[in-house]
Structures are given as C-alpha cells and as structure tokens.
C-alpha cells in the first residue's frame, strides 16, 4: 500500500464527520481537501448542508462511490462507517488520528480495505498543492 495513492488529486473523497464549526478539524480537513481533490463530499447526518454546500447523511446517499473515505469521527462511528464502506465497495479508508480503533483497522485488514492511520494530513502542503493546481 502506498499512501501516495490516497493523495492523488484525481481521487473522489468522502469526508465523514464534516463539521459546520470552522474551529473543528472536521471543518478544516473538509475545506483543505476541497482545494486539492477533484471532488470532495461532505458526510454528516446532522446537516443537510454546510455553508451552502450539500451534506449527505451517510456513504450510501452519495451520488457516486468515492475512491477514499476520510473519517473524522469517534472510533465507534468509524467502525460503523467502514462496514458501510465495505458494503458499497470502497477500497480505501483514511482514519484521521483519534478516529481509528484496533477493531476498525483489523476489519479493514480482514476485508481487503486499504487503511491509513497514525498519519495526519499535512494541511499546508495540501493547500499549496491545491492552489497550484487551481
């Protein structure tokens, strides 16, 4: 597995646990990834939209299957999310530090889902690359 594959700009990303609060990581990560990747979907059942953009209640509601799911939620929610991810055929999951659990990681390993954990997005690096690519 190469982490670089997760970071390819052509990927479609779903961020599970997007927040409307600009102070929270769920907001910062979503906004930063939007600058870098082709298409980024917000997922959180609490919101119908976030700052004017559509927010989906779960992965099954998305209009297309994302290449990568990023989790910014509590570990027990991540465990639910990856089960849905498996059901709809998602092959790559990036668990932001704090959202991972041993059970979630082992579930991914058992089910052939590539899983990144213990790594943070380099927010400035992504932002600058995104700015450069338009």
């Amino acid at each position: 597995m190469k982490i670089e594959w997760f970071l390819e700009g052509k990927n479609t990303i779903a961020v599970v646990g997007v927040s409307a609060n600009p102070e929270k990581w769920g907001y910062k990560i979503y906004q930063t990834l939007k600058r870098t990747f082709r298409k980024v979907y917000a997922v959180n059942p609490k919101y119908a939209e976030i700052w004017g953009e559509k927010c989906y209640p779960d992965l099954k509601s998305l209009p297309e299957r994302p290449d990568v799911v990023v989790t910014v939620v509590r570990p027990e929610i991540t465990e639910e999310v990856i089960r849905t991810a498996k059901d709809i055929g998602i092959r790559r999951v990036w668990m932001q530090p704090g959202s991972e659990s041993r059970e979630a990681i082992e579930f991914c390993e058992r089910n052939g889902i590539e899983c990144v954990h213990s790594v943070c997005f380099m927010m400035d690096g992504l932002k600058k690359r995104g700015d450069g690519n338009g």
Binding site: P97, V119, C120, M122, G125
Partner: protein, 135 residues
C-alpha cells in the same frame, strides 16, 4: 587480493571517513535557513517532518531521540517543524505527517510516512547503511 580483503578495506575506509565527522547524539533542529547546509554536511541524515498538533508525530518523537543516540556515528537525525517551515515541506512533497526523509549525500533516497515502529525504521536504515558499505 580476495573479495573478503576488498570488503574489509571498504569497511575500514568507511569507518575512517565517519570518524572524521562530528556526529550529534540528539536530533538536530532544522529550519528553512539551515536545511541545505545540514543535509549536505552528513552522508546519511534522516529528517523527521513533524508538527506539534499531530498526535502520531508526538508518538514517534521519542523513537527518533533513541535512534539518534543509538545510531550516532552512522546516521544523523533532524527534525523540521512543518508549521514553521511549510515551504521546505512542500518542496519535498510532504503531504502527510510524520514523514521521515532519508538523505544520502544531499539526495532523498527513502521516505517513510506515518508513525511506524522503531524496528521498521531501523530495517529501512540498515538497507541504506548496507548500500553505503558496498560502495
């Protein structure tokens, strides 16, 4: 002169060369001002691209301290704060942290992304050290 003799000479020359360089036993603090000079000064230097706000970076920080001590004389370790030095991180394509970049004679020869066990880092570095001895 046999192959074993040549191998012995290579090893001895490498050891002599390494003795001439003053090796630190703690990770060096790198920044955009001293980066170029330090990566060129040491034959093998590992730079830990990190941030205070990144929990996995804090997880591997003690390992880097230990490795700097244990491998002193062979490998130099350095740390670069990506929040304070974003342009260096971007220049080397660091998009996730922690990232360890291994420089040999000023060139990137290996990249380890994420908080990985100490043995994993050691294994990758041994490869670099073995290649140095063969040269």
């Amino acid at each position: 002169m046999g192959t074993d003799d040549l191998e012995e000479i290579r090893k001895r020359k490498m050891e002599e060369m390494l003795k001439k360089i003053k090796y630190p036993t703690k990770p060096l603090e790198l920044n955009e001002g001293n980066f170029e000079e330090l990566v060129k000064r040491y034959p093998l230097i590992v730079i830990d691209f990190w941030s205070e706000r990144c929990p996995p970076c804090r997880l591997i920080a003690p390992l880097i301290e230990e490795l700097a001590k244990e491998l002193s004389g062979k490998v130099v370790f350095g740390k670069l704060d990506v929040d304070r030095n974003p342009s260096t991180a971007t220049r080397f394509g660091v998009m996730a942290i922690p990232t360890l970049l291994v420089f040999r004679n000023g060139e990137v020869v290996d990249r380890i992304v994420g908080a990985v066990p100490k043995e994993f880092i050691l294994g990758r570095l041994r490869k670099c050290l073995d290649e140095d001895v063969k040269k």
